[in-house]
């Protein structure tokens, strides 16, 4: 039995046992409600959970964003209209968080924007190079792929802790600095370096995932194109510019949009690594929402809801872009 069949069997065996136990009841239901009733039953669990834990919260979110106070239940909360949005959006100069009514929010907005640009740029570039290299004929291909991929499966908490340990004052990073004849750096206490660390650690953790998508795209490019180019004696750089890059563009677009969607929501590994600090140097939007709604001494769920709706606006645009790109990549 192949490994694939074995995993498949292991995953389905309990399911099938459960399904077998339900069999008589289901037969009765089909006799009672017909095939249409069965279709409804198949959809019911998933749709019920969707409705309760996704659709209802979406609707409630709008309602929450228009109420004030610290109470959890909507019915206990006073209606304040657009006050929460006004509080978030009022600024003398939106580029300077200090002039805003809610300076932490705008700090988080600009931190997130900077993070997104840097992280997505660096990561896409590194993933492209990695994919191109892994697509060459190499000895021990599987090993190299695993090297770049394995951090993807680590939990964000683990990633944050590993790097916190390396970047602490007496950690491995400073050992390397000292051995290299440089001054040790207080990585996570310095505003600049803490932000750079958040970007770098995030690239480290997710690079392999995007490299893998690009690698699949590279492998889908017909080999005869390269053979033809080789027969014409085309130079490698030209082959890359004229064949590889144009044919990889749909996959690159998917990768960029996917990376953007995830980067906007950056939270856990940065939170474990720096806790948003020093000060607010690595405070990102999701952390702002979490702390405003749940972790600050004075909770303000309404403000958190308003902030999350503003973030959702960005994400909806990006997701629509993703779906259209994915369709285009699939049509190729």
């Amino acid at each position: 039995m192949s490994l694939g069949a074995r995993v498949g069997a292991a995953a389905t065996a309990p399911l099938r046992a459960l399904a077998a136990a339900l069999d008589p009841a289901m037969r009765g239901w089909q006799r009672l409600a017909g095939r249409g009733g069965m279709i409804g039953l198949f959809l019911l669990p998933n749709l019920a959970i969707f409705t309760i834990f996704v659709l209802v919260p979406i609707g409630l979110n709008v309602a929450y964003s228009m109420t004030g106070g610290a109470q959890v239940f909507l019915a206990d909360r006073p209606f304040v209209g657009g006050e929460q949005y006004a509080r978030l959006l009022e600024c003398e100069n939106h580029l300077r968080p200090r002039t805003c009514r809610d300076d932490t929010f705008w700090t988080a907005v600009w931190n997130t924007a900077r993070f997104v640009v840097l992280q997505v740029g660096l990561m896409t570039g590194a993933a492209l190079v990695t994919a191109l290299i892994l697509n060459r004929s190499l000895p021990a291909k599987g090993f190299w792929r695993a090297v770049f991929f394995f951090p993807v499966l680590l939990s964000p908490v683990v990633v944050g802790l590993i790097w916190r340990w390396i970047l602490q004052r007496q950690g491995l990073a400073n050992l390397v600095m000292v051995e290299g004849g440089l001054e040790p750096v207080n990585w996570l206490v310095d505003r600049f370096w803490a932000f750079a660390a958040a970007v770098g650690v995030s690239v480290w953790a997710h690079l392999g995932f995007y490299a893998l998508i690009l690698l699949a795209g590279l492998q889908a490019i017909p080999k005869d194109l390269y053979e033809a180019a080789e027969m014409d004696g085309t130079r490698p750089w030209r082959v890359f510019r004229r064949i590889t890059l144009p044919l990889l563009t749909p996959n690159l677009a998917v990768v960029v949009v996917l990376a953007l969607i995830r980067a906007v929501q950056i939270f856990d590994e940065a939170y474990v690594l720096t806790g948003g600090g020093p000060g607010t140097a690595t405070m990102f939007l999701t952390q702002y929402i979490y702390e405003t709604g749940f972790a600050s001494p004075v909770r303000n769920p309404g403000l958190a809801a308003a902030a999350s709706i503003l973030m959702a606006g960005v994400l909806v645009v990006l997701t629509l872009l993703r779906l259209s790109r994915q369709r285009r990549a699939a049509q190729r």
Partner: protein
């Protein structure tokens, strides 16, 4: 390096048998540098997790875990040092006690002799490679680590089983039946792709609290099981199962439910396997939602427990590092044995 050169010359894309091309050099620099950068931190974590608290506080740190040797004298473990005596020779001695910069030390071979007073600048601790396995055993005994571990296993297993069941049922209905409103349901599921957790954190919390699941593991599990990506993946796969099989079964008076679990489920096993693996990794690694829902320590999952230990004022790194390694083990096992499924799942469906 000669081996690498040999391989690249024969195999490099640009290598038409004429030695190094600059891309070959770049390839190997990237691969070797990448290995150091990607593996280095994980290896460092594992090595550090075996160090004693004293060794962890050292700078510069040693690569391998060392611990000071000790010897039992008068019923107590005494640390051993290499002492440089005034005449220039060195000798191994055990420390009995230390006052300021002066230590009273004896020769372990003759512990009854009068202790020698030694300036601490004239001695070096005698060390050997030793793995501080107590870093691993003590969290299990002294902290709630074992409970966190069990909670995480419970959440992962139950959530994965429910995900497979509900998602495969929905995917079956959406791929094998024509009914009014099918497109609307598909659209609804696509739409939920746009709603990540961070966007509905506040209202989801109130819903879970209204259902009475706050601070319970079920409150962590239920909101995660209706994954749109799971429904998608399974539906795409089930579309490739020929409808004739289903028709033939109906001829034999199979019920719709039997068609689902006797025919479609076994045939969709490869897709279910991919979803199962991803679900295990997702649920094992979840952080933000459990962080919001779980408030009492006894309900913490591993990730939340780790984070709370690491957030304490006096971080006990020797325990944290060991617990981190323990938290990685299940994921590493999944990775080592099932890497092929994970990579194919990502390449074909963009799962993550």
């Amino acid at each position: 390096m000669r081996g690498a050169r040999f391989l690249t010359r024969r195999r490099g894309v640009a290598g038409s048998g004429r030695g190094w091309h600059w891309t070959d050099i770049a390839t190997w620099v990237w691969l070797v540098g990448g290995t150091v950068l990607m593996f280095g931190p994980a290896v460092w974590l594992v090595l550090s997790s075996f160090k004693t608290p004293a060794a962890l506080a050292e700078f510069p740190p040693t690569i391998l875990p060392y611990a000071q040797q000790t010897m039992e004298i008068d019923g107590r473990e005494r640390p051993l040092f290499t002492v440089t005596t005034p005449d220039g020779t060195t000798q191994t001695m055990a420390e009995l006690r230390r006052v300021g910069i002066v230590a009273q030390m004896v020769d372990p071979a003759a512990p009854e002799a009068e202790p020698l007073r030694v300036n601490i600048a004239e001695r070096e601790p005698l060390r050997e490679i030793a793995f501080a396995t107590s870093n691993y055993t003590e969290p299990f005994l002294r902290f709630d680590f074992w409970r966190f571990f069990r909670n995480s296993v419970f959440v992962t297993v139950v959530a994965t089983a429910l995900t497979l069941l509900t998602n495969s049922m929905a995917a079956f209905a959406l791929s094998k039946y024509d009914f009014r409103g099918r497109n609307a349901v598909m659209l609804l599921i696509i739409a939920t792709l746009m709603v990540p957790l961070s966007v509905i954190l506040v209202p989801l919390y109130s819903v879970v609290s209204a259902v009475g699941l706050l601070d319970t593991l079920w409150g962590v599990i239920l909101p995660t099981i209706a994954t749109p990506t799971g429904v998608f993946l399974l539906r795409q796969y089930m579309l490739t199962i020929p409808d004739e099989l289903l028709e033939a079964a109906r001829m034999d008076h199979a019920s719709e439910w039997q068609i689902y679990w006797r025919i479609v489920l076994p045939l969709a096993a490869p897709a279910l396997a991919v979803l199962a693996i991803f679900s295990v990794v997702w649920r094992w690694n979840d952080f933000l939602w459990p962080l919001v829902v779980l408030t009492s320590t006894r309900n913490y999952t591993l990730q939340i427990g780790l984070n709370s230990y690491a957030g304490e004022l006096n971080v006990q790194w020797h325990y944290i590092l060991a617990m981190t390694v323990a938290a990685i083990v299940p994921v590493v096992l999944v990775f080592v044995f099932l890497q092929r499924f994970i990579t194919s799942g990502i390449a074909s469906a963009g799962l993550k």
